[in-house]
Amino acid sequence: MEIKPILSTLMRNKTGVFVIAAQVALTLAIVANVFYIVRDRLAEANRPSGVDEDNTFMIGVGAYRPVVDPMADIARDLAGLRALPGVTHATLANQMPLAQSGNNSGVSVDRSQQQISTSVAFYEAADSLVDALGLKLVAGRDLAPSDVIEIQVGENSPEGPFPVVVTQALIDKVFPGETQPIGKLLYLGVGPNADELRIVGVVEALTTPWGRASWGLANRGDVSMIVPFRRATDSPLYIVRTEPGARAAAMKAAEALLVKPGNGRVLGANRSMTELRERRYRSDRFMVGLMGTMTGLLLVVTASGILGMASLWVNQRRKQIGVRRALGATRFDIVRYYLTENFIVTGIGIVVGIGLAFALNAMVASELGLERLPLAHLGIGVVLLWVIGQIAAYAPARRASLIAPATATRSV
């Protein structure tokens, strides 16, 4: 290998080396971090919600004239929904996973606490939400009809104690390492008057209405609890689960059932869980696409820079390439010279770029709730840039190898 003479030559062409190396360094820093962010975002958008997403939907209605007996309407709605073909479960609820609106409450584990232990998505469901969403119970029991507390319009939430089902993530957060969470107490809010909640069951996962917050690692969007409230309302939300393949028809039927001409109701939203996920992560996907496109363009620009510089050097050195050929260089020797030269220049950029990548990572990591840039991602970026560099340099290198040996004697 001709490392030493190539290095000497590069030392005497510092400007070109600097331009390309700087471009490579910057590209590596950006590419490695973008890879990381994109992968994180995609992983997030595909993270299981704990819900049987293919077979669930929500339907909400509003009222445009006073409702006389909301509880009776709700009971009638539920009976009707359950009677629809393919519907297996239906419940009244206050919010829906990934629907991007709902309630959070703070909970504490000790009455002497000044501050809450965590904030938690507060699902109120009159019938089994475990069934209606297809959640997986991993400990204890589901909430039972006998647990249900009815709350009339205008009434405050009841005082505890009452039973709750919580997510494993909640246990991990407030009782880290706890293997026997059933029977543990939580308090709604803080202080001596905080309502007492008794954990009766744990579900593997139930994502919050927002999924993971985009602003911090702390909130992964999986800390949720279910309370057995049947809260009277003139604009109820129902969560419905169907047999596989029956959802689309059931959604139409549900809409026809709940909103009829003259029944005083308007449709709030009728959305499948699939659509809710899509809507929730649409902007993330857009960002991923945008960042991917920008990064692709950046790589193209960098490749063009490398190609341009390599071509320039080849053109400037036509004569000496002919001389090298005259002195015995094979075509392969010439190709190898230029690929090696490119490998070195790109390598200089990569070394600087690794430092830059970590610096950039340190700047954005806390903003985006990311951890330190994993070395694997950097490795991918390094390999990618080296490969792109070699590909970009290949055409000029090959052109160089085709310069006639007679150039040594013929040209001026």
């Binding site: 001709e2 030493k4 003479p5 000497s8 030559t9 005497r12 062409n13 004569k319 000496q320 001389v323 090298r324 050929r325 005259a326 002195l327 015995g328 260089a329 094979t330 075509r331 392969f332 020797d333 006639a404 040996p405 007679a406 040594a408 004697t409 013929r410 001026v412």
Partner: protein
Amino acid sequence: MLQMRKLSKVYRTHLIETHALRGFDIHVREGEFVAVTGPSGSGKTTFLNIAGLLEEFTDGEYLIDGVPVRGLDDNARSRLRNEKIGFIFQGFNMIPDLNLFDNVDVPLRYRGFKAPERKARIEHALERVGLASRMKHYPAELSGGQQQRVAIARALAGDPRLLLADEPTGNLDSAMARGVMELLEEINAQGTTIVMVTHDPELAQRAQRNVHIIDGQVSDLEHVTPLARVAARGAEAAVA
């Protein structure tokens, strides 16, 4: 060492055909110092390029050490150039970004010598041309005569049996030219065959043998009458 029989070279562009060499016959023996003269455009460089395997020829025969070179592939030609032939150019053709040491090193690397051997050869070659002390200098820091000496060192470092020089003194003043010529004579005295194209009748005179090329054909002046020889010289001088 070098033998061409009925060799021809035609350059074809889309407009014209140039017969740079035709019916070209020459036999250079081991250890000879041949000066090639001839008017500009007569085919001297073409001959040298073909002799040095820098260009292919169109027709005829060319043998190096009795072996025909027609049909050799590019790699084989590169290897032959590297091992058997040394080149000296009119414009020196130093690689400007490499110091003298690295310049002389170029053909040795293609030869595949290991570092210690290369170092020994480079130092020896530079000593031979009297520039061992300037090893770390760059070509731009040297005079033309010195650069041509380095070029000679570069051509000699691999111990070629044949040295081809295309107007090696063409860019030098007469004092420097004489120095280079003396160096070439010394090298020839040590056994290296030399073929040198020159415009300078005085230098040509010093070679063992003169070959005159006119219009792509050899008129070997050793075998023509002295009168014709003088006439040919006159014609050449007029062109130069």
